[in-house]
């Protein structure tokens, strides 16, 4: 009941929601309204700040993972996600019903799955991502073909089943013997606080399969890489061919933000999210290395889940205004070389609220096919603004803010304006080099005037004489 009402409230409270979901919500709303209108209204008033609205499907290898990874799931539930746990081969699984997505987020903690149950398969998951859904995938050394296929769809090539990331130089003291319990240095994390959280010196424990990023796919993010000495191979077989990933190319955690802002995170390790790794102490096995009482796994996992489920790094465009300097409203058309003020409000989602975004490097482009002007916007109270002179070229232009930064959703705003040439009264009237022409005109006019007076009023002396 409580997640339902939170769900419905969000629709009524915010306008930036997709239509298809709001239809479904309104069906629910009617059902609820039947029950108890006042209760619902008061609840919705109470839940005013609860924006994190996420129906999340969690696919597990077996339901015991719910217990072994309880801290992670509890942190999701505490943040307002409505988690539905299913085993990955449950025959009743479905992501899409009547053409609508039943969930906004998908957690796949079922590395070994070969075929998903119900009507979920790799194609439906990719179309879920294409539809804007966010997916968190955790693999392990017994990875099935389904997840490997899903990985290649997202530009992440996962190594074969039974392989593991091995690092003989950076393994934990509690490693059971194959040097696959890896201590990942936080220096190998992506430098993007929105994705990985605030920098810490706590190392991360990892045990699982390695990945490489598809070099053709520029959207794949190397969230956590292995160290130079890491590689991925079968731990129990001698190396007979070049390993799938070697050194810093070995991805332990990869991310992807698609062009539609859907986010996907692949972790090579399911144990990475486990209670055991969250609570464990960590120390490299090399003599004299520092011991940390707790791993950085919990913080990293929480930051990753915040990012992948769109709680962090989400931007939106607010009001956009532009006008000539000294005026208040935009004209029907600007004239070339006008001095123009452009301002835009950009907001960031923080703790479920939209607050003004604080960025240093937001750029405005003035574009007619190609950009003519590209300049930085300066923060000015709650909005960003800049004053600049329009180029001396006329045509149909756009004010374009195209802000694409690591860890943030792609922010795009374009406003079309036309720029016309000078009117004929706006040209320079008296050009020094053309003075002879003006002089000839004016002397002619003066001559005409004087001549007309003289001609009309001259007294002929001879006649009068």
């Amino acid at each position: 009941m409580a997640p339902l009402t939170a769900d419905v409230h969000h629709r009524s409270g915010s306008s930036s929601l997709s239509k298809k979901r709001s239809e479904m919500a309104s069906q629910r709303r009617f059902r609820l309204l039947d029950n108890n209108v006042i209760f619902f209204l008061s609840l919705s008033a109470m839940l005013h700040c609860a924006v994190a609205d996420g129906r999340t499907l969690v696919l597990l290898d077996n339901l015991n993972i719910k217990d072994t990874h309880s801290i992670f799931f509890r942190s999701l539930a505490d943040r307002g996600f409505d988690l539905t746990f299913k085993t990955a081969d449950d025959p009743s699984l479905s992501l899409i019903k009547y053409g609508q997505f039943l969930y906004e987020h998908l957690v796949i903690f079922s590395p070994s799955v070969e075929d998903f149950g119900g009507n979920i398969n790799v194609e439906t998951i990719t179309s879920f991502i294409d539809g804007g859904g966010n997916v968190l995938v955790a693999a392990s050394s017994d990875i099935g073909d389904a997840l490997r296929e899903l990985g290649s769809e997202c530009g992440v090539e996962v190594d074969e089943e039974k392989t593991a990331v091995i690092d003989h130089h950076n393994f934990d003291v509690s490693d059971p013997g194959e040097h696959t319990l890896i201590v990942a240095d936080p220096a190998n994390l992506l430098k993007a606080p929105t994705i990985v959280g605030n920098p810490t010196d706590k190392p991360v424990l990892f045990k699982g399969v390695g990945m490489v990023a598809d070099p053709e796919n520029p959207l794949v993010l190397d969230i956590l890489t292995g160290s130079s000495t890491a590689y991925t191979y079968f731990p129990d077989r001698p190396i007979s061919q070049y390993p799938h990933a070697v050194g810093k190319n070995t991805l332990l955690i990869a991310g992807l933000q698609a062009r539609n802002n859907a986010r996907v995170v692949f972790s090579g390790s399911l144990d990475f999210f486990s209670d055991a790794f969250f609570n464990s102490a960590v120390q490299k096995a090399t003599p004299g290395s520092q011991r940390f009482e707790q791993t950085g796994n919990m913080e990293l996992a929480e930051a990753l889940s915040r990012w992948v489920f769109k709680e962090a790094g989400v931007l939106r465009v607010g009001a956009v205004t532009h006008h000539p300097v000294g005026e208040l409203s935009p004209p029907a058309a600007y004239t070339i070389t006008d001095l123009v003020v452009y301002s835009i409000v950009i907001e960031q989602l923080t703790e479920g609220r939209w607050v003004p975004f604080d960025g240093e490097d937001i750029q405005l482009e003035f574009v007619r096919i190609d950009p003519f002007v590209r300049t930085y916007l300066k923060k000015n109270g709650g909005e960003y603004s800049v004053q600049f002179t329009l180029p001396d070229v006329y045509g149909v232009f756009q004010f374009k803010v195209d802000y694409n930064r690591l860890g943030y959703t792609h922010l795009y705003s374009s406003t079309q304006v036309s720029v016309r040439p000078l009117q004929h009264t706006q040209y320079e009237r008296f050009i020094p080099s053309a003075y002879p022409y003006y002089a000839s005109c004016f002397s002619m006019m003066a001559g005409l005037f004087v001549f007309s007076i003289v001609f009309l009023h001259m007294k002929d002396k001879e006649k009068s004489d």
Binding site: N62, S70, T229, N279, Q423, T425, Y435
Partner: protein, 631 residues
């Protein structure tokens, strides 16, 4: 003869391995027990949490601090009219010494009245438990009747578990057989998850309480519970896999189940784990095992025996039937005395000494590790056409070569080395023998796998012409590192051997599209305004202006000479109006040039022109009249 016996033993061990594959994957480590205790030691707020804390801690065998304070708290919170309250208080007071709960007759009557088939199962359970704890008499057979009746009404796991618990508090003379059968029925309801876990879908608490209840009832009636060994291990796995407990009651249930699994009379699961990693080496020749129960308490009375041990690589049996010796709570075996080669060994270990032990045949992978040394590291640059003799230079670990090697497209860089076991002198072929070239300027790294030949001599040759694509044809100084590692090596090597300058023949421009530049600001663009055209010198135009104005001047001068005059000018309004209008029209032309557009101009011109036309007409008429008058 000898071989066939060995083979037989091997087969036997394999069979054993098949049969006994399941061993507890999860248990409460000492750290887990500590955390469980911490959770249960939280200050309690009401009688229920006091019950969970106190009884839970006593199940873990932990000290309960401040007995008197707890007793006071229980007494102050006790509500003698509520079955629940009396139950919590009675059970908690049992767990601490010297705390007696005063019971009135009224309370006893309420408790006895609750033992009927009209109460819920929980109520019956709590009433019976409270009566038993307070040492009050109870008609057991009646209680059995009530339980049996309730089981038929409340057919869920929690209720039946409560019934089992209740039965364990009743007199042994009562007919508990019917309730005992419920254990088997419940066992059939457990869900098997992947052959490793066995649990109720109601959750961890239900599973843990079932185990507690089943063993306490079995102990009570002294009949082995109908659980198979594998099932016990699967239950252990699912109860202890969760390491972070959501609530006090969940923690209590785990503590109770742990206590039941450690102390019951029928099944005690054994957890065999190596102390530290399961590794032996020349410096640490003994294999040390910890044999504990699920709460990590050592089972000192047990005997530990290696049934067989074979090498994973060669499948040859090393030894059989070797006992471990107990040394200060740790079972030890000097494995290195048999001089095993480095690698993995599969041990089958049997723990005996008590018929209750479950999962007492364990498979254990033991690693024999050693140390490696790099010998005969030779570096050379070889000309491809072999016209110049090669000059090799030898480098010793861990120093770095002083000479810097330079290889261009006509030369190969070559490196040979051998890896030997420090302890035995045998050549080794570790899992990881990589050669890493790291460009110091761009940070790019290229890794090659060095492969041994038949004599375990590693050769690495770098053909710069062939490999240029891997280096993206970027010439420069690369530091050459040798990385040697293996799970069985205690000293992995990361050795910066030398610096190598690589020169590629045709240097291509680096790829234009670099994916990571997607997220950085683009370069600023300032619009370049068109430069105004260069204008001719104003002197020229001024001179020509003067030249052009000169005819007007000439006109005026000539007119003066000719005696032009305006003596006929009469100040009639029409004349003045005409000339003013005329001047205004000319002025309008000027204003049109500077300010107005054509439509505005035409509007003004119409007004001024109309007036001027009329005034001109009038003026000309007057002039004509005058001229006619003169004639």
């Amino acid at each position: 003869m000898d071989r066939s016996r060995l083979f037989g033993a091997f087969l036997f061990s394999l069979c054993l391995a098949g049969a006994q594959a399941l061993s507890p994957a999860h248990h409460l480590s000492l750290a887990d027990v500590d955390r469980l205790q911490n959770l249960l030691s939280q200050p309690f707020t009401d009688l229920e949490s006091a019950y969970y804390s106190v009884v839970g801690l006593s199940k873990l065998g932990a000290n309960i601090p401040d007995h008197d304070g707890v007793c006071q708290f229980i007494k102050s919170q006790l509500d003698p009219t509520s079955v629940d309250s009396v139950f919590f208080a009675a059970e908690a007071s049992q767990a601490i010494s010297g705390c007696e709960i005063p019971v009135s007759n009224e309370t006893r009557d309420i408790l006895l009245a609750a033992v009927s088939e009209d109460s819920t199962m929980t109520q019956i359970n709590r009433a019976v438990s409270a009566l038993a704890s307070l040492g009050l008499p109870l008609a057991s057979q009646e209680a059995v009747g009530a339980l049996t009746a309730r089981i038929n009404k409340e057919d869920n796991v929690m209720a039946i578990t409560s019934a089992l618990q209740t039965a364990a508090r009743l007199s042994q003379e009562a007919e508990l057989g019917g309730i005992l059968e419920e254990i088997e029925d419940l066992t059939a309801r457990l869900d098997d998850l992947g052959g490793i876990y066995l649990q109720f879908e109601e959750g961890l608490e239900a599973t843990a309480m079932f185990v507690t209840a089943a063993y306490s009832l079995s102990d009570h009636v002294d009949m082995e519970p109908p659980l198979k060994e594998d099932q016990v291990i699967q239950l252990v796995n699912s109860i202890f896999s969760k390491k972070s407990w959501d609530s006090l009651s969940e923690a209590f249930s785990v503590a109770s189940a742990a206590a039941a699994l450690c102390t019951n009379r029928f099944h005690v699961p054994v957890v065999v784990s190596a102390q530290g990693p399961a590794t032996v080496s020349h410096s640490q020749p003994t294999l040390q095992l910890l044999v504990t129960d699920v709460m990590s308490q050592p089972l000192d009375y047990s005997k530990v025996l290696v049934e067989s041990a074979y090498s994973v690589a060669s499948k040859s049996i090393i030894f059989t039937q070797a006992p471990f010796t107990l040394n200060d709570g740790v079972f030890e075996l000097n494995f290195m005395s048999t001089q095993p080669a480095s690698g993995y060994y599969q041990f089958t270990i049997a723990v005996t000494g008590d018929s209750r032990l479950v999962a007492n045949h364990v498979e254990l992978k033991v690693k024999v590790s050693t140390e490696v040394a790099v010998t005969t590291m030779d570096l050379s640059v070889v000309d491809k056409d072999q016209s110049i003799g090669t000059k090799t230079s030898r480098v010793d670990y861990p120093s770095k070569s002083k000479t810097i090697f330079t290889a261009d497209g006509h030369q190969n860089f070559a490196m040979t080395f051998q890896l030997v076991d420090v302890n035995t002198g045998v050549e080794l072929t570790p899992h990881q023998t990589f050669v890493r070239l790291h460009n110091q300027k761009t940070g790019q790294e290229v890794v090659f796998v060095a492969e041994p030949d038949a004599k375990s001599l590693y050769k690495f040759e770098l053909d710069t012409a062939e490999r240029k694509s891997e280096f993206a044809s970027i010439s420069g100084t690369y530091s050459l590192c040798l990385i040697v590692g293996d799970a069985t090596l205690e000293n992995p090597i990361l050795w910066n051997v030398a610096d190598v300058v690589l020169k590629f023949m045709d240097e291509e421009a680096p790829a234009t599209i670099q994916p990571k530049t997607l997220y950085v600001p683009k370069p600023e663009i300032q619009h370049l305004f068109r430069e105004p055209e260069k204008k001719p010198a104003t002197v020229v135009s001024n001179a020509f202006t003067a030249l052009i104005l000169s005819p007007l001047l000439l006109l005026l001068i000539l007119w003066l000479k000719l005696g032009a005059n305006v003596s006929n000018f009469s100040c009639s309004p029409s004349t003045v109006l005409f000339h003013v209008g005329h001047a205004a029209m000319l002025g309008l032309m000027y204003v049109y040039w500077t300010h107005l557009n054509m439509f505005q101009t035409l509007k003004y011109l119409a007004i001024i022109g109309g007036v001027t036309f009329l005034a001109g007409n009038r003026m000309l008429a007057q002039k004509a009249v005058k001229r006619i008058e003169k004639k």
